[in-house]
C-alpha cells in the first residue's frame, strides 16, 4: 500500500493495462514527451515507447477520429482531450460517430476505446476550461461515462474502462488531481456501473460524483453534528448507472439530495431525481432536491468560482433547510 495522488493514478492505471495488452495505445496533445499538461501521463513514453504513446497536433477531431478508426480495426486506444471543454471542437466524432456507429451498423463494429479528459472547475481557469461535461456525455446514447473521485477508483475504473468493449468517456476531476489515496501495489480492476455507499445514515441520501464526493462527505459529517444522518453515495459511473443501489438507498432514507458540479439545467441529478420520482415515489418522505452550480458560465476569479461551485457549506444549509421544513 502507498499513498498515490489522483494524477499519478492515471498513469498507473494506463500502464497497468498497457503492460497486459499490446493493443492498448495512447495519444493526445503533449502527452508523451511532456507527460501531459496535468502530469497525468508521466513515464508512459519511457516505458512503452513512441509507437504506443504518441503526441499529436492540436487537432482534436483527428485525435478522436484516429482513436475511432483504430478501435474499429482491433486496437484499444486511449485518447486524451486535454480539457473537457475541448470536447466541443470534436463533439461530432464523439456523439455522432463513435457513439452511434455500432448501432447503425447493426453491431458490425465495436469501439473499445477510452477518451480521458480533465473535467470541471476549481482551478480558476475560467469558463472555457472549467465546465463539467458529464451531462454532455450522459445524454448521448452509445457512450459510457465514468468519473472517479479518488486515486484508487481512478486505477480500477481506468482498467475497467480500457477492458470494456464500448467507448468510455473517462472524466477526471481537475480539482482532485492533487488529492491522495491509499492504493495497493498490486493490479486494481474495478467494475463499471457500480455506485459506492461511502457513508450510512438513516435520514437522507446524498448522491454525488467526482469532485463533489469529498464535499458531500464533509457535509454529511457536519450534518451529523446537527442531528441529520446521511447516506452518501458516489455514483462513479453515469452510464451504466447503478440504479439498484441508488433506488435502494433513497428508499431506505426517504429523501434524495444530489450534489452536481455541472450548471443547473439537464444535469445527471435531474435524470436521477426523475428516476427516483418515477420509480420509488411512494417511498419518498419529502421533495428531492438538487444542489448544482447555478446556470451560469463558471467565472475565473477565485472568490467567484468558490461561490459558484457547490460548497460544503451550501450542501449543509440546503439539506438542513429542506429537512427542517
Amino acid at each position: 500500500m502507498a499513498q498515490l495522488t489522483y494524477r499519478e493514478a492515471i498513469a498507473r492505471g494506463i500502464a497497468q493495462e498497457m503492460r497486459r495488452d499490446e493493443s492498448v495505445v495512447f495519444l493526445g496533445e503533449d502527452v508523451a514527451a511532456a507527460g501531459g499538461v496535468f502530469k497525468g501521463t508521466v513515464g508512459l513514453l519511457e516505458e512503452f515507447g513512441p509507437q504506443r504513446v504518441r503526441d499529436t497536433p492540436i487537432s482534436e477531431q483527428a485525435i478522436l477520429g484516429a482513436a475511432m478508426g483504430a478501435a474499429m480495426t482491433g486496437l484499444r486506444p486511449i485518447a486524451e482531450i486535454m480539457f473537457a471543454d475541448f470536447f466541443a471542437v470534436c463533439w461530432d466524432i464523439v456523439a455522432n460517430e463513435i457513439a452511434k456507429s455500432r448501432y447503425m451498423t447493426n453491431g458490425q463494429m465495436s469501439f473499445p476505446l477510452v477518451i480521458r479528459s480533465g473535467n470541471g472547475g476549481g482551478l480558476r481557469f475560467g469558463a472555457q476550461h472549467s465546465q463539467d461535461v458529464s451531462n454532455w456525455a450522459m445524454m448521448i446514447p452509445g457512450l459510457k461515462v465514468v468519473a472517479p473521485s479518488n486515486a484508487l477508483d481512478v486505477i480500477g475504473l481506468m482498467a475497467a474502462s480500457i477492458r470494456d468493449d464500448d467507448p468510455v468517456i473517462f472524466l477526471e476531476s481537475k480539482g482532485l488531481y492533487a488529492s491522495k489515496t491509499e492504493v495497493p501495489d498490486t493490479d486494481v480492476v474495478d467494475t463499471l456501473g457500480s455506485a459506492k455507499v461511502l457513508r450510512h445514515g438513516g435520514d437522507a441520501t446524498i448522491v454525488s460524483l467526482g469532485m463533489m464526493v469529498p464535499r458531500a462527505l464533509a457535509a454529511a459529517e457536519e450534518l451529523a453534528g446537527h442531528g441529520i444522518d446521511c447516506t452518501v453515495l458516489d455514483v462513479r459511473s453515469l452510464v451504466p448507472l447503478d440504479t439498484q443501489t441508488i433506488l435502494r438507498e433513497v428508499s431506505a432514507t426517504g429523501r434524495l439530495f444530489t450534489v452536481e458540479e455541472n450548471p443547473r439545467l439537464c444535469g445527471w441529478g435531474a435524470e436521477l431525481s426523475s428516476i427516483v420520482t418515477e420509480e420509488v415515489f411512494y417511498d419518498l418522505d419529502g421533495p428531492s432536491v438538487r444542489i448544482t452550480t447555478p446556470h451560469i458560465p463558471l467565472p475565473a476569479a477565485d472568490a467567484l468560482e468558490d461561490m459558484a461551485l457547490p460548497s460544503v457549506e451550501r450542501i449543509v444549509t440546503t439539506i438542513e433547510k429542506s429537512m427542517n421544513s
Binding site: G65, M68, T73, P240, Q244
Partner: protein
C-alpha cells in the same frame, strides 16, 4: 495487384463493376419513385468509374470509408446487391437490418468500414484505421472518398495534416462532381481545384485525374496504394466527375446549366468505357453478356429486397453495446 489497367481482364472486370453500379443506382431510383426507398438516398450515377477504379486497385483486407453517397463504393468492394438494396428499403435483410439506411452502408467483411453522413468526419477515422495497420505491421491501407464541398470543413484539414505527420497508409480520394448540394463548389471555395490545390499545404503532391476514366483512376490509385504500402505515407487524389442526377432523392438538379449537364453526359464513364473495350477488340457478345448478367443480378436483388421482412422490435433495442444490448442501467 500492382498490375496496371493495361491488361484486358482487369478492363473487363472494371466494365462489369461500373455497369453493375449503374444498373443498381437506376433501380434504386426507380424504387424510390415507387415509394419503396425510405428516407433519403444519394445516388452515384455518373461517378461509377471512381468507385470501380479504386476498388480494383485495393486488396482484400484494405479499408474503404465512404460518404452518404456510398452505394457505388459498397458494391464495388463486394457487398451483395440484395442486402444493399434491402437496406434502402428498410428491410430486416438489409445490410444493417435497416438500422443504418442508405447513408450508412457498412460491410466490415468486405472492408467497407462505413458510410458517413456528417461531412468530413470519416477522413480522420480513416487515418485511425491506417494507424492501426501501421502499428500492427500489416500492409493494409485505408481509402477515404469525399466530395469537393467537403474540402472546406475543418475535419478535412485536420485529417490531411495528421496523416502526413504520422506518415499513414491512407489515400484520400476527392470525387469532384462540381456541386455540393445545390451550390457550385467553386463559388464557396478559395481555389479552383478544391483538393489538389490544397495538397501542397500538407506537403503532398497535387494529383488530378479524369474521374470518368476507370483506367486512369485505377492507375493513380494503384500508384498511391503502392506508395502507402511501401511506407511512403498518404496521398490525395482529385478525380473530376459529375453526378448525373440531383443531390439526393427529391432533387431534380435543376440549378445546373443545361449545357453543363449535356457536356458531362457526353463524358459518361460507362459509354466511354464500353467504346474502349470494343476498340480493344472485346467481342460485343461478351460485353452484352456482362450487361445481361448485371441486369439479372439487379432483378434478383430487387425481388429479394422487396421480399425482405419488416424489421421487428427485437432489432430496435439491440447492439448499442458490445454485449448486444442497450441497457444504460441495472
Amino acid at each position: 495487384m500492382t498490375s496496371t489497367a493495361t491488361d484486358v481482364s482487369t478492363k473487363i472486370a472494371l466494365y462489369r463493376t461500373q455497369y453493375e453500379l449503374r444498373l443498381f443506382e437506376q433501380r434504386a431510383y426507380d424504387l424510390f419513385l415507387e415509394n419503396l426507398v425510405k428516407g433519403t438516398s444519394h445516388l452515384g450515377l455518373g461517378q461509377e468509374a471512381i468507385a470501380a477504379g479504386v476498388a480494383a486497385a485495393m486488396k482484400q483486407g484494405d479499408w474503404t470509408f465512404a460518404t452518404y453517397r456510398g452505394h457505388n463504393h459498397t458494391l464495388a468492394r463486394g457487398a451483395g446487391m440484395t442486402p444493399v438494396l434491402a437496406e434502402l428499403l428498410g428491410r430486416a435483410n438489409g445490410l444493417m437490418a435497416g438500422k443504418g439506411g442508405s447513408m450508412h452502408l457498412t460491410s466490415v467483411e468486405h472492408g467497407m468500414m462505413g458510410s458517413y453522413a456528417i461531412i468530413g468526419a470519416h477522413l480522420p477515422i480513416a487515418c485511425g484505421a491506417a494507424w492501426s495497420a501501421k502499428y500492427r505491421g500489416t500492409d493494409q491501407v485505408s481509402v477515404a472518398f469525399f466530395g469537393d464541398g467537403t474540402t472546406n470543413i475543418g475535419a478535412f484539414h485536420e485529417a490531411l495534416n495528421f496523416a502526413v505527420v504520422w506518415q499513414l497508409p491512407v489515400i484520400f480520394v476527392c470525387e469532384n462532381n462540381l456541386w455540393m448540394e445545390y451550390t457550385r463548389t467553386t463559388e464557396v471555395t478559395a481555389v479552383p481545384n478544391p483538393a489538389a490545390d490544397r495538397a501542397l499545404a500538407y506537403g503532398l503532391e497535387s494529383i488530378i485525374v479524369d474521374g470518368n476514366d476507370a483506367d486512369a483512376v485505377f492507375e493513380v490509385a494503384s500508384a498511391a496504394i503502392a506508395r502507402a504500402r511501401a511506407g511512403q505515407g498518404p496521398s490525395m487524389i482529385e478525380a473530376k466527375t459529375y453526378r448525373h442526377g440531383g443531390h439526393s432523392r427529391a432533387d431534380p438538379g435543376k440549378y445546373r446549366p443545361d449545357e453543363e449537364v449535356k457536356e458531362w453526359l457526353a463524358k459518361d464513364p460507362i459509354v466511354r468505357y464500353r467504346a474502349r473495350l470494343i476498340e480493344l477488340g472485346v467481342p460485343l457478345e461478351q460485353i452484352e453478356a456482362i450487361e445481361a448478367e448485371a441486369l439479372a443480378k439487379v432483378d434478383t436483388a430487387t425481388e429479394e429486397a422487396k421480399a425482405g421482412a419488416t424489421p421487428g422490435e427485437d432489432l430496435l433495442m439491440k447492439d448499442v453495446w458490445a454485449d448486444g444490448g442497450s441497457a444504460w442501467r441495472n
